[in-house]
């Protein structure tokens, strides 16, 4: 377990850097996908709500350091991971790969909306209305995240959700 956690921590650092220096530049309609949220959703589904919440906190600290808004990012990621934790599938469960995958997608959408809502409440760099930021940007970002999650699932995560 410790090995797994260490691996996830290393991966979290890499994912945060990739998000900050790569993915965040790929904006469509002023919105970019968030691979940190996808990764946190994956952790939430495969480990536990507690672990994912802690990872969310760590991810918030990392992304906050990189973006310059530590507190808000910590809050947003912690909340997103906590919400994603509700989609956790215990190892003992008899869920099929398809069900696990669906739960993973659900976690991605829920965490994405939550993270976006908290961030939208805390900062408004474009000067847009809160409703617009929460609903339009939140839904759009969740959609992008979902598309990316589907691609990543097909490419790398399928084994993790195997029966």
């Amino acid at each position: 377990m410790t090995r797994k956690i260490t691996l996830y921590l290393v991966l979290l650092c890499i994912v945060s850097l990739v998000q900050e220096f790569g993915v965040s530049r790929m904006t469509i309609f002023r919105v970019s996908p968030d691979i940190v949220t996808i990764f946190l959703a994956f952790i939430a589904v495969t480990t536990s709500q507690k672990t994912s919440t802690s990872f969310g906190f760590a991810a918030g600290l990392l992304t906050g350091l990189l973006t310059g808004n530590i507190g808000l990012n910590m809050l947003a990621r912690t909340a997103g991971s906590f919400i994603a934790g509700y989609f956790h599938t215990p190892i003992t469960s008899h869920a099929t790969a398809k069900q696990k995958t669906r739960r993973f997608y659900g976690a991605v959408i829920a965490a994405g909306i939550c993270v976006n809502a908290v961030l939208a409440n805390g900062s408004n760099p474009l000067g847009l209305s809160l409703a617009y930021r929460v609903f339009f940007f939140g839904l759009l970002e969740s959609l992008f995240n979902l598309i990316l999650a589907v691609i990543l699932n097909r490419l790398f995560l399928r084994k993790s959700f195997a029966d």
Partner: protein
């Protein structure tokens, strides 16, 4: 107490979440704290350094486009600089001409030299003033330094000028201090040297004497500087005199055109041969 522990274990997820949220709020609250500010500054520094490296790396892929873009910008800037520099030079020359006290420029027309041909086929100057600006054939073209030439043909907006350094050009001149009369000509050779003909051996022409246009000229007003005597060589009846021209034709760009000298009575009496 056991109930409290049960509650704690039952809702430990929530408690952990609340703990993290509290820390996050604390961070938000203490945002301006020195330590957090240092952390933030360090993060921004790190991000900026990486971004700079990434930008320089990614710029390698767009180097050609960037090069083309810069070339375009360079071209635009160059054309602007050239245009401004030309305007500045024109303005400087205009002011120089207007400021010159030896020339009363009030009745003069100012023009810019737009073309110059000094070849074996043609030797002319083209100015950007034509009959629309009042230019007429045989008007004197000059600059404060001296005589440039005479207008030979005029169109609506342009005029051709025969310069002093043309083999067909003739103008009556007079030496400044000894008042010796002669005719200035130019024979093919150096651009800055002309000759004065018909100065008799008996005259007392001196070296370095100033030569100006005389009143005998049919087109030029008198007193326009032409040059200075640099060589006097006696011939059979006349001196062979070399004059260094006052005007540097290689750097001419703005000229004045003097009003036409109207002396019909003088022309009439000069050409009248009946009462010889």
């Amino acid at each position: 107490m056991s109930k409290l522990f049960t509650l704690f274990f039952k809702y430990n997820n929530w408690l952990l979440f609340l703990l993290y949220c509290s820390i996050a709020f604390l961070f938000m609250r203490l945002q301006d704290h020195e330590m957090l500010a240092k952390l933030r500054t360090g993060g921004i520094e790190f991000t900026s350094v990486i971004n700079e490296k990434l930008m320089s790396f990614s710029s390698l892929f767009t180097l050609k486009n960037e090069n083309d873009r810069l070339m375009q910008v360079n071209t635009d800037l160059l054309s602007r600089v050239l245009s401004l520099e030309t305007a500045a030079v024109d303005e400087r020359n205009r002011r120089k001409i207007l400021a010159d006290t030896t020339v009363n420029a009030s009745g003069f027309i100012m023009a810019r030299i737009v073309d110059r041909k000094f070849s074996d086929r043609e030797n002319i100057l083209v100015i950007d003033a034509g009959w629309k600006k009042g230019i007429q054939k045989n008007m004197t073209v000059l600059v404060p330094e001296g005589l440039v030439g005479r207008v030979t043909s005029v169109s609506e907006h342009y005029a051709r000028v025969m310069p002093v350094i043309h083999t067909d050009f003739r103008v009556s001149v007079v030496s400044d201090s000894t008042s010796n009369m002669g005719v200035l000509t130019w024979s093919e050779g150096r651009e800055s040297i002309a000759q004065v003909e018909h100065i008799p051996i008996s005259s007392h022409l001196k070296l370095n004497e100033r030569i100006v246009t005389s009143d005998f000229s049919t087109f030029s007003i008198r007193g326009i500087p032409v040059g200075r005597v640099i060589r006097i060589k006696p011939d059979n009846l006349f001196y062979s005199v070399d004059v260094r021209l006052a005007v540097d034709f290689s750097s001419l760009n703005q000229v004045l055109i003097a009003p036409l000298k109207i002396e019909p009575e003088k022309i009439e009496i000069s050409s009248d041969t009946t009462n010889n």
